[in-house]
Symmetry: C2
Subunit: 444 residues, 2 copies
């Protein structure tokens, strides 16, 4: 019997653990789920005979070393900055490691050491990064095999709310780390458009969006991710003229979010003194130019943002209650933190709500002298609050990859990503059987 | 004979050193000017009998300790982050220290140690900070003594180009660290307006300016500095309803600068790959949305910025040659660094050019039941490229303060600022004799 150690039993580990609870006996694998919160780990392995839950603190070096020594494979679902510590333990004990996080430069630097030790450190094997690479590369390799010349590649993914649970004008609820949503896009986005580098500074990012009409999935808008350029080489698309990766949101979200940025509410660089009490209305007034008592506050806000007070856009902002007498409650918090606190109430995924993942790749290519367009899309809807679409699409690729590593089906060693057919084909095929399947549409 | 050590012989030290070369004999003070560039230090003490120039490296601890041990007073004109090292040497050897830089929290933390040692660490004794505090507080204390109630205080200062040397549509040339000019205002500015806190995020900062018509000085525009709020208490203006400190620029500068910000040219967070050659035109195209070959690049730029192609504003941008075929030349540089490199050519203070300092304080106050307004302003024009207005207004307050410390005329110890009449009155009076005098205008 082999031992699989899963570090971290949080939100996105549910489907991973559930997969293993279902398959442990068939594959003769014993699962240890370790989390700082023992009860959380216990709740996830409940009823599974070949699994145990333990309490765990990554800062306890001896305990961590022993846990890793006892495992054949470690899956780290810990916060990304902790992967390096885990990776160093794995190198020390010659144990394989798997994560759903970006391969940082520090992790990449372990490549030759991992080869020397004969171990696998597989990164970017969740949803985004992970499933995005795998599903895109399957098509890229397929098109290249047909001698097609890919001229344009656009890839967008969003963690959204399912249509049946979409009850607000932003068409959004949190299914992921809210802080990342609030701070998204700060800096300058970079991508390639018709052989020309394009930069979008933060204040314009949510105004320069792209619309996708996806059959069976609906209409979505995307804003560019911070750095698309580094993926061109990874995907072998050096001759592609357009290459952009981004994030999907519902219609209207981005334009309204751009207003919050313009106001200054996403600033995370200074804190607001609330000792004498500050309401949301007062905070918004602080971001407006001189007070004009002859106008309503609504009119002042609309004038400043140069939007129509009767527009859906303005109503979308007002729906957030940013002009209410509700007090700010966080001490020493930035505008971004106050905004997050407000949105965590307004955009809460309720008990009976379901989340949704949408991913879309749009290819333009030339084949046999003809210009073609291909849309590949994924829609995944969560089962409930535990087995969310996010948990399934992050956890199941990891689950299948971990099974492959344990069965010795991945021959490579070193720091690797799921970029080759030997890895992505079995994963994508099994995912399809589990209901996570891409649809392809050829557009003439 | 007393010993004065001046660390740093750069641009802003010229007038300070010249003052001491003129007064060394009268006050029986020997001056040592220490700089990493010996020739620079030598050029500044040329012909002065009671002075010597030496080469100096602050990282050589023993040498620095010995130099400081030999001095009665140290003036640090080094980059601000080095003051702490110098201050620690001064504490070690019981030597007084004087600088023109902001009192950082690290420096402030030395207050009680400095009192224990009986030494003076006087900070913020140059132009801005320095002369701004002194000139404002003289008026504040005067008004308070008359039982006036100050309701509004606005204080702006700019390092500008003298009218006779103003030859470009930006009305600006560099007389100070260009990098600080390029990165100015990043973050969110905070000030008090009619008892209401106001925040201005960076993209709006240069669009929300204030105009000052100053008799004998002309019309200038100001944008708010990052944090005005911390000065309210320092100035004893807790009951003031409006309090803002800012930076002055010529008419039109700010609106045009806001366009460069909107484009993204002041971004310092990523670098541009120039290995295959990139021109300014290509860089600007990278910041524009999709290419529209049917329009000229000028029209595309004007459309994107939503400004009239025939406007003075647009011509001001074009004057920078940002649409030229001139190549970017700095390897691994950010947009902000490339912009700085360009502007260093376009906004160069030429050999025969003169710089200018303008400072203005606008007070509104109630006295004997009447609402009054007072404008206090300073205009200082440089003599030449060495004795610039910047060098004079930064260096002469330091020079006079250093004389007072050496003569034992400042009784306080600890980390102090020139905020009290015993310090600012003699400095302002002697400055007036040296031609640096404020003009007051009562506006009914």
């Amino acid at each position: 019997m082999q031992n699989l150690l899963i570090l971290g039993a949080g939100r996105s580990a549910s489907s991973l653990i559930s997969y293993w609870c279902s398959n442990a006996e068939a594959y003769q694998v014993f699962i240890t789920v370790a989390d700082p919160q023992l009860e959380l780990a216990q709740s996830k392995v409940n009823g599974c005979t070949l699994a145990k839950a333990i309490s765990f603190n990554v800062e306890n070096k001896e305990e961590t070393a022993q846990l890793i020594a006892d495992a054949d494979l470690v899956i780290s679902m810990l916060p990304a900055h902790l992967h390096l510590i885990v990776a160093e333990h794995c190198l020390e004990r010659n144990r394989n490691l798997l994560t759903a996080s970006y391969a940082s430069n520090e992790i990449k630097a372990l490549h030759s050491k991992a080869i020397d030790k004969g171990i696998i450190i597989m990164m970017e094997c969740g949803l985004d990064p992970g499933l995005d690479h795998m599903s895109a590369l399957r098509i890229i390799h397929h098109l290249k095999a047909k001698n097609a010349s890919i001229t344009s590649f656009k890839s967008y993914c969003g963690g959204l709310v399912a249509p049946e649970s979409d009850t607000n004008p932003w068409h959004y609820k949190f299914s992921w780390n809210p802080r990342n949503v609030i701070l998204a896009g700060q800096g300058t986005a970079r991508y390639l458009d018709q052989n020309m580098l394009k930069y979008i500074p933060y204040p314009q990012l949510f105004l320069r969006t792209e619309k996708f009409e996806i059959p069976h999935v609906g209409v979505w808008e995307g804003y560019a991710n911070r750095d698309s350029l580094s993926y061109i080489q990874l995907y072998g698309l050096e001759t592609c003229q357009t290459f952009v990766r981004g994030t999907l949101r519902g219609e209207g979200y981005c334009e309204a979010w751009a207003q919050l940025i313009k106001l200054g509410l996403t600033d995370d660089s200074f804190t607001i003194d609330i000792t004498n009490g500050v309401t949301w209305l007062e905070l918004i007034k602080s971001f407006l130019p001189v007070n004009k008592p002859s106008l309503t506050i609504e009119q002042q806000l609309a004038d400043y943002l140069k939007i129509d007070i009767h527009s859906a856009l303005f109503q979308q902002l007002i729906w957030l209650d940013i002009l209410s007498d509700q007090p700010l409650v966080l001490a020493n918090a930035s505008p971004a933190q106050h905004l997050q606190h407000l949105l965590e109430q307004k955009w809460k995924l309720e008990e009976t709500d379901k989340d949704m993942i949408v991913m879309v790749h749009e290819f333009e290519y030339q084949l046999d002298g003809q210009q073609k367009k291909l849309l590949s899309s994924l829609k995944s809807i969560g089962d409930d609050q535990v087995y969310t679409a996010m948990a399934k699409t992050v956890g199941l690729p990891l689950a299948i990859a971990s099974k492959m590593i344990l069965k010795g089906e991945i021959q490579k060693t070193g720091v690797i990503l799921p970029l080759t057919a030997d890895i992505y084909e079995p994963i994508l095929n099994e995912l399809a059987n589990l209901g996570i399947a891409f649809e392809e549409h050829h557009i003439e």
